[in-house]
């Protein structure tokens, strides 16, 4: 597998070409990509349209596709942490490998989903949403992502808050577990609750380190979730 990337200027050109002509049926994929990428395309296109034909859309489509996407890639020997953090790799993916899927999901008005905003490049988001919620296997992770507490805003708040100094990945995974499994005494606004949890998750490690405290990252995440549930009123307004 040859890892391909697109620089920002190359991405801009590729995006302009998509805006000018988004008829992907005329593309000769085998001329454009080598066989490794063609195998990936065949798998992803099949799975994506299967989900769409089943009637899934918005968050229901995104989380299911994210889980399939991550499960497919993180098993590949060539997929490393270094590649997963490379916006130029994901730009190549969005603009050259699966532009038809990105176009189907978001159209071609907003360049952020293709290359312009790293954290919002759709293939990057798909990979990192499940990566940051991963519970060790597909089944356990599916239980978390399919929870009624999660929605498109959960994706945004989890993936787009990596922290300027890097992400506490194990803590984020535990936060997703305790967020989905918390038991507020009243019905709560899950969007506001999760936003507050993620803000506290960025602020608290400046004082107490998740890896050095009693109970480690898991207990730390549990306390953050509980603190937000107990101390802030997120009950749904009538």
């Amino acid at each position: 597998m040859i890892i391909q990337t697109l620089s920002r200027s190359q991405s801009k050109d590729a995006f302009e070409r998509i805006q000018e002509n988004s008829d992907f049926t005329s593309i000769d994929w085998s001329n454009r990509l080598d066989s490794d990428y063609l195998v990936i395309i065949n798998y992803l296109v099949e799975k994506y349209f299967e989900l769409k034909q089943s009637g899934y859309k918005d968050y229901q489509l995104d989380y299911r596709f994210s889980l399939l996407f991550y499960d497919y890639f993180h098993q590949k020997e060539w997929m490393t942490d270094r590649i997963a953090a490379d916006y130029e790799f994901w730009s190549y993916f969005a603009l050259i490998v699966i532009p038809d899927l990105v176009f189907d999901r978001f159209g071609a008005d907003d360049d952020k989903h293709y290359y312009a905003k790293g954290l919002r490049i759709w293939p990057y988001t798909l990979y990192w949403y499940t990566h940051l919620a991963w519970q060790g296997n597909v089944e356990s992770t599916n239980k978390i992502l399919s929870s009624s507490r999660c929605c498109s805003d959960t994706i945004l708040n989890l993936v787009e808050r990596p922290g300027r100094n890097g992400t506490y990945i194990s803590m984020y995974r535990s936060i997703m577990f305790y967020f989905v499994n918390c038991n507020p005494t009243k019905e709560v606004d899950n969007i506001k609750l999760f936003r507050s949890i993620m803000k506290l998750a960025l602020a608290k490690p400046l004082v107490i380190d998740p890896d050095l405290c009693s109970g480690g990252p898991s207990e730390y995440a549990k306390e953050i979730v509980q603190e937000c549930v107990d101390k802030i009123d997120f009950t749904l307004k009538e």
Binding site: I2, I3, Q4, T5, L6, S7, Q10, W78, T80, D81, R82, I83, A84, A85, D86, W128, P162, G163, R164, N165, G166, T167, Y168, I169, L206, V207, I208, D209, P210, D211, L212, C213, S214, Y220
Partner: protein
């Protein structure tokens, strides 16, 4: 009575970087040289030409000398007298989307001088861009403390002090001579771009010169180190050597464009009075000395000396 000052000595140790290679079934450790822009900012260089962040692990090691730690404890210190203060190495990398902490030892309050060694190991292809290292002092017990110590932190994991050790630029090695990848099925495997601007005032970098490698070319796999089964170090060496030789020869031409009286590049580079800092001329002048030792006297001598340099630098790839 004046108490001796507490200190965590950062000057008394040398940070060391290394990587492992498995040879004949045995793991051997090789050092990486650090190229330091200042005392906090490091780039790594492997004289063997083997290490890349994609293909090998990275070990960062060093030691702290702590003197008079007793001053850290008690109501005039930063932690309750009966508590324990731990020392950890924290690394943060926004570009890798990762961070981590390694506990390296507790500070022993009963000794006047203590040395704590550390080694942080990163897997191959784990890091991207830059990584910042800190040492952290933290409360490593849940000792509440006496009535006079209630103003002190006492929760395990609370950070009570930190300092930056260094910033490491993992990908700097790949940027020594500007190399850029491009994608064009109709172009050759590699090209050279050279700016015609005055080398004395043009900053060194991708806008001045670049070797462009074509990812869309059918033979790109032979120069891509990630494709281990196809990668040909000889071909990559030849391309780099040819490109640098060509560059020097092109500069001979450019030098005459700006100083018609000069006798060639060597003559052009002699007078460095008005040069802009970090300009092309400054970098190219350095090509003539160690470790490159490139000869500018004629195209043939240039080619011989450039090939010698790359054979030595990348001969073990």
């Amino acid at each position: 009575m004046q108490q001796n000052k507490v200190s965590i000595d950062e000057d008394s140790y040398e940070l060391a970087f290394s990587y492992d290679v498995i040879e004949d079934g045995e793991t051997k450790n090789y050092p990486l040289e650090k190229d330091s822009k200042n005392s906090l900012f490091y780039q790594l260089c492997d004289s063997q030409g083997v290490w890349t962040p994609n293909t090998h692990n990275l070990k960062v090691s060093g030691a702290f000398i702590i003197t008079n730690p007793i001053g850290l404890y008690g109501e005039n210190g930063i932690a309750p007298k009966e508590s324990s203060i731990g020392l950890a190495i924290r690394w943060c990398s926004g570009t890798s989307k990762k961070r981590g902490v390694k506990f390296i030892g507790d500070i022993n309050k009963s000794t006047n001088r203590q040395e704590i060694q550390f080694c942080v190991v990163f897997n191959k292809a784990e890091l991207r861009g830059s990584v910042t290292f800190y040492f952290e002092l933290f409360i490593n017990s849940n000792e509440l403390g006496t009535q006079n110590e209630q103003h002190l932190a006492n929760t395990k994991g609370t950070l009570i002090g930190e300092d930056q050790i260094c910033i490491l630029d993992i990908d700097a090695k790949e940027q020594n001579f500007p190399i850029e990848l491009f994608d064009d099925p109709d172009s050759p495997l590699w090209k050279l771009y050279v700016s015609e601007n005055d080398p004395r005032f043009t900053p060194w970098g991708l806008d001045a010169v670049k070797i462009q490698l074509n990812k869309a070319h059918k033979d790109y796999k032979y120069i891509n180190q990630d494709v281990k089964t196809k990668f040909s170090p000889v071909l990559l060496r030849e391309i780099l050597a040819s490109a640098v030789s060509l560059y020097i020869n092109k500069l001979q031409e450019i030098a005459k464009k700006y100083e018609q009286e000069c006798q060639g590049l060597q003559d052009f580079l002699n007078d460095d009075t008005d040069w802009a800092p970090g300009c092309v001329a400054e970098v190219v002048k350095g090509f003539q000395s160690e470790p490159m030792n490139i000869d500018f006297t004629s195209p043939i001598e240039t080619s011989i000396s450039v090939h010698k340099y790359f054979d030595l630098k990348l001969g073990n790839l």
